[in-house]
């Protein structure tokens, strides 16, 4: 399958502070990939590099084979971009903004835009600046759908949206992307939203890429085991299979890619007696926190 996005050895610093070093990832055609990471790990930095708003210290990103620092107008026409906070030209009303953008895209499809607008309680002459954040998100989404891009880059699409609008946004987007074989690269600070939307994930931390795989594969292989150690003398963090370990009072939360049998064998081999041993079912958010830690 073709890669729509390809980032190679991406390194960036803000002053002397390293954001990441030699970050590599790809997004294949037709997939919906979520970039997950804590604050400050470089999600928006990556989005900015992808859109040509930031020159990385070294490395490069290619979109449809073109370096993102010099995207041609033809390639830009194939990319729909949602700015964090659903920023649009707020001095325009929805009729004006549709007219404005339609002049740039030969394949402009006004129907999806007006279909979405009909769901909102707004008039065609209402200025975007007077709309709620949720309504603005629908305007931004409608414009992207009308543009009919092959790749959608969405920077924190959940920001400022109430649960209803978030659900509307995600359902509409996923249905559209799957029906039209669109590729989506997205970030969001609300992981539950990502769980509904994405097929693949890329989790980055201050040390680099922690995981790049499909959501199903990740959720199938990454596990959490809870137990209460009776004789807690061994430092479990040093166990080779432990990805992360958290203690809440007496209870240990152990995160690993290994199986229950391997964990239990390690405990037995090290004479660690435990009680209440159980594998805990996780959502994507639990798994994300388990992988990256709470702090």
């Amino acid at each position: 399958m073709n890669n729509v996005i390809e980032c190679n050895n991406l390194t960036h610093y803000y002053g002397k502070k390293q954001v990441y070093e030699n970050l590599n990832f790809q997004v294949s055609e037709g997939s919906i990939l979520g970039l997950l990471g804590k604050n400050g790990t470089g999600k928006t930095t990556t989005i900015n590099i992808l859109n040509g708003f930031l020159q990385p210290r070294s490395g490069e990103c290619l979109i449809f084979g073109e370096n993102t620092q010099h995207l041609s107008p033809r390639t830009k026409a194939r990319i729909g971009f949602l700015i964090e906070g659903h920023i649009q030209y707020s001095f325009m009303n929805i009729r004006q903004i549709e007219k404005f953008y339609s002049g740039f895209y030969p394949n402009w499809k006004p129907a999806p835009f007006w279909e979405l607008m009909s769901k909102l309680n707004v008039t065609p002459t209402q200025k975007i600046s007077t709309m709620s954040c949720g309504q603005r998100s629908q305007v931004a989404l409608g414009l992207i759908l009308a543009q009919d891009p092959d790749l959608l880059i969405l920077d924190d699409f959940s920001m400022g949206l109430d649960p209803g609008y978030r659900r509307l946004f995600i359902d509409y987007l996923r249905e559209y992307a799957k029906a039209e074989n669109k590729t989506i690269f997205t970030t969001s600070h609300i992981i539950q939203d990502m769980e509904r939307l994405i097929d693949d994930l890329l989790i980055i931390d201050f040390d680099g890429v922690l995981a790049q795989t499909s959501v199903n594969e990740f959720m199938g292989s990454f596990k959490r085991f809870d137990f209460v150690p009776e004789n807690d003398k061994t430092d479990l963090k040093k166990a080779p299979f432990v990805v992360n370990l958290d203690k809440v009072k007496n209870k240990v939360e152990l995160y690993t890619y290994s199986s229950e049998s391997i964990v239990k064998k390690y405990l037995d081999d090290n004479n660690i007696t435990v009680s209440n041993f159980a594998q805990v079912k996780m959502g994507l958010e639990d798994a994300f926190i388990g992988l990256t830690g709470k702090y």
């Binding site: 859109n51 708003f53 033809r74 700015i83 325009m92 004006q96 002049g103």
Partner: protein, 222 residues
């Protein structure tokens, strides 16, 4: 494409441009009402005497009118682009970034020029009612640098507003402020005659300065 750019820019500046132009028309009307008043109550002799021998410039109230126009249109046009870094939307349009900016800039400059031409036309027309051609010509030579200052201010404000870093904005403002005084210096009628071409060329050079701020924005300076 250019129609869409013009449309967006028009939506941003239309009320500011219309308001500024109307105020300018009223200002020029008031200026010549004052001239008429002077002729009626002080007598033509005294007016001529003050203009020819005492260096009085009846048009001096116009001095900062173009400058205010340049500032107003530039802020109306570029400030909305910087709120929430909205300029990213422009850079993402399927058109070269510099081309998009220069189209926006050209629209603003042409709008300003139309307004200025209207003012200069009105000024010339009214002046010819009261003064001989030679005096009107000298007056126009004297007011032209003020209009060039209006364009220079427009270009400089675009550079400053689009600049992503405050310390650079401050430096540009200080340098730009001193630069503009070149256009507004001489109090003598017609003194700028030999310099007008050079002043025009200087202002024209400034027209591409905003590309530097845009370049810095796209490189991620903040």
């Amino acid at each position: 494409m250019w129609k869409s750019i013009v449309y967006k820019e028009w939506l941003k500046i239309r009320w500011f441009l219309i308001g500024y132009t109307l105020l300018g028309i009223l200002g020029i009307g008031y200026l010549f009402l004052t001239v008429k008043h002077g002729f009626a109550f002080s007598g033509g002799k005294n007016i001529w005497n003050s203009i020819l021998f005492m260096g009085h410039q009846f048009f001096s109230p116009l001095k900062y009118v173009p400058l205010v126009g340049g500032l107003t249109i530039a802020i109306a046009q570029y400030f909305p682009e910087t709120v929430n870094k909205r300029i990213k939307l422009t850079f993402h349009l399927p058109i070269g970034e510099n081309k998009a900016l220069l189209m926006m800039h050209a629209f603003g400059a042409v709008s300003l020029m139309l307004s200025f031409l209207l003012f200069i036309g009105m000024f010339t027309g009214f002046s010819l009612v009261y003064f001989p051609v030679q005096m009107v010509t000298d007056s126009i030579i004297s007011i032209l640098p003020w209009f060039f200052a209006g364009f220079a201010a427009y270009f400089l404000i675009a550079l400053i507003v689009l600049e992503p870093e405050w310390k650079f904005r401050f430096c540009y403002s200080v340098v730009g402020g001193f630069f503009l005084t070149i256009y507004l210096n001489s109090p003598f009628t017609g003194a700028y005659g030999p310099a007008n071409t050079g002043l025009f060329v200087l202002a024209a050079f400034l027209s591409i300065a905003l590309l530097f701020s845009a370049y810095r924005f796209r490189k991620g300076e903040m």
